[in-house]
């Protein structure tokens, strides 16, 4: 038990005037882990991250990064992390290339081979002035600088909100590389599938409180896929199958839409296969579904699991 956690947040609270933005935040990130930090807009993700970065002061509770106090040891901590904010604003008069180099120098690092590699992968024109960049391109500038910084901890706040799917993939690959190199990553998002792909652990925040935290596997009971299916034989007794919710049947019971508990997937698929599947589409669970499920479980205890 000698390893110091990269990040340890305990009972963090933060208020802005009368508004209590953070009520009870608990996070734990161990070396080499990727922690997905997920919640809807306005839940307090950015506020939590800004407290971890020492930009704002905790009202109560403790925030430790590398075992150091996030507020008073901010400078020492910043030496060892790289960060990309959700909204990237860059000095309008600098070019993208100049900005990347400057951001690296501010972290006491240099433009390196990885920087060039990332500029190429993201296809960023580094000779353009920042004021002419779109939101996505500004985000690329910050991402390239952060990803080519060699530090133990990376923090990304909704990093792909302005990126197209192709660039999103490049980002995901880059995070995978960081993971392989044994780096720790804190990744916030409001898209569950994105965090699911990359995160070892997930922490879910809602209205300033962490409501669920753990490995993906331990959260299987919470995830539900959206399924829409067309079969050759009518699905007469589908509503009797466990693990199926919000079922609607159409077209003489040949067409069904429902949500499916992840842990019931095998049983249901077997059932559907017996009725000869013509078309099957599953969509990963959205955050909405997850919250719905979470409150269903906590609201009516004793409900079918």
């Amino acid at each position: 038990m000698a390893t110091v956690p990269v990040l340890k947040v305990e009972h963090l609270q933060k208020s802005f005037g009368k508004f209590q933005a953070l009520k009870d935040i608990n996070l734990d990130l161990q070396p080499g882990e990727v922690l997905g930090f997920i919640g809807p807009n306005g839940a307090g993700k950015s506020t939590t991250i800004r407290t971890i970065l020492g930009l704002i002061k905790a009202f109560s509770g403790t925030v430790k990064v590398f075992g150091k106090n996030a507020w008073s040891d901010a400078v020492a901590i910043h030496q060892q992390l790289a960060y990309v904010p959700g909204d990237v604003y860059l000095w309008p008069n600098l070019t993208g290339g100049q900005t990347i180099d400057l951001l690296l120098k501010l972290s006491h690092q240099k433009h390196n081979a990885r920087t060039d590699e990332l500029i190429k992968e993201f296809e960023l024109d580094v000779t353009k002035k920042n004021r002419t960049y779109s939101k996505g391109n500004r985000q690329k500038v910050a991402l390239i600088a952060a990803l080519s910084t060699d530090v133990p901890l990376y923090i990304f706040d909704e990093p792909t909100s302005g990126l197209d799917p192709l660039n999103e993939q490049i980002f995901q690959n880059a995070v995978e590389k960081l993971k392989q190199a044994g780096k720790s990553v804190l990744l916030s998002s409001h898209i569950l599938s994105e965090v699911e792909k990359m995160g070892d652990k997930i922490a879910i925040i809602r209205q300033g409180t962490i409501i669920e935290t753990g490995t993906l596997a331990s959260m299987q009971h919470l995830t539900r896929n959206q399924v829409s299916v067309i079969t050759k034989q009518p699905l007469t007794d589908l509503d009797q199958v466990t693990g199926i919710h919000q079922l609607t049947l159409q077209n003489n019971q040949l067409e069904a839409n429902f949500t499916l508990d992840s842990d019931a997937t095998t049983d249901v698929m077997n059932y559907l296969a017996q009725h000869q599947i013509v078309h099957l589409k599953t969509t990963p669970p959205t955050l909405d579904n997850l919250f719905l499920r979470y409150y269903e479980d906590n609201g009516k205890s004793g409900d079918t699991k």
């Binding site: 030496q79 180099d101 501010l106 433009h111």
Partner: protein
Amino acid sequence: MKPFAETRLLLVANFRRDIKKIIIWLVGLAGLFVAVAYKFEGLYGSRQQIETIVTTLKSKAMVSLFGPLPHVNHLTTAIIFAGEMLIFWSIFMVIFNITLAIGATRVPEEEGLTEMLRGGHPVGRQAPLLAAILEISIVDLVFFVITGVGTQLANLPGANSMGTWLLAAALSIVGWAFGMFTLVLAQLFNDSKNATMVSYLLFGITYLMRMISDVSDQQLTWLSPLGWVEKTSIYVNNNWLPIGLYLVFGGFALMIALALNANRDIDAGLVAVKPGKATNRFLRGPLSLLVWNQKTTSLGWIIGVALLGASYGSIFDSIGKLVNDSPVIRQVLGTGGVMHAQKLQLLSFIGILSMVFALLGILAGGMVTNRLYADETRGYLELVSVKPVHRTTMILIPVSYGIVLAELVLIAAMFGMQAAGNAVLKHPLAAKYFWQSILAMTPTVLLFLGILTLFVGAMPKLRSLTWLYLGVAFVISYFGKLLKLPDWGLKVSPFYWFQKVPVKTTDWTAWWVILIIALVCLLGGVIGYNKRDLRN
């Protein structure tokens, strides 16, 4: 789509956004104007009182600062009032209108508000610009009514209704015309900073043109759009021609702005943004970043004020001449005595100007200090504040840069003035007088920048109070004598303590006290900045 669709709604929204600003400016400008009008009779109501001030007002120094008095044998209270207020109040009106014009056009466009309104709603292409035009026009009209009615009621000796309304019209229309002109510049430049800078630069040139022509050949003042206000000859000839000129000038600018706006892309200016180099060896930390971002503006300030100083210096030979240099006076004072009196007159002029230059230095430096907060709210700072840079460093870099720039502005202006002044003077002035003034003004410069630092560091929302205090302090010292303000009122202004330098020696007690207050404020700002949350 109709180009002016929804202008009315935008106009209402503009007023809702700017109402506080407008009320503060209107109360300050129109209210103070009327208040001065009421006070004026008590000050210069009688013949004797007028006699005491006339010599001063007719000196070239005063003419260069306030504009000339009309050439009449019989000066009345009203004529003096109009003559002294005209240029000074015009400057404020122009500043107010430039602020409004940029704030209603480039700023919302920069913030993306214009795009949302025009892209996502049935708002016409010209609607935001027309709303800005109407907003400015309405505000100036309100100013016209308040000052007109107020001055009318003050009923100054020698005043007539025609003259009073001409005075109110001149002040509001000069502001309006420059406001319209700013709207043209707002179409040319794609960011508010450049548009503002160029507006003030061009305005500064019109000010210098009128100043130089006023003390040399007053016919040439017609060449400066700012100078037109002086040609109204209020309460003497009541000349309405300048009002017509401003209407044409402003109306022409208004149409150019609309024409340019009709054909340009949103977020674009007519001055295109060129790509740059991918690397830059100079940029390596917070200081070099600030220098890089500020270099053009800073250089502009220093060169601009050096030229301003030089323009004042170029009229030193006229300033030095005694208004009354009749043979009798020459005989009484002797050659040495006349020279001494002339020198004193010049030195006192230098004292007043050192105050103006200090004010400009504070504005230049203060804008840099303000950047710390502006960059914080715009999100530029977010990426720096997560780097291993201490908060103390983060605040001290722009603050020190601001202080150095403010001092450089002061020094450049004073030595621009010295160089040009000594070129035209038969007996050049020693450099020590200029250094004394610079040194005397330094604690005042530091005090205002210190107060600003305190606010930006600890309570950024209240930072505008600094400018309010600066404005009040400056007006008190610039005008206080003319208005015969009580001593305690004058002492509120830090300028008061040093404006007599280099005629008199510096009051070192006051110098140290103000310096220490300034340093305490600076320290408070640094401590506050280390303790407060950074916003996003």
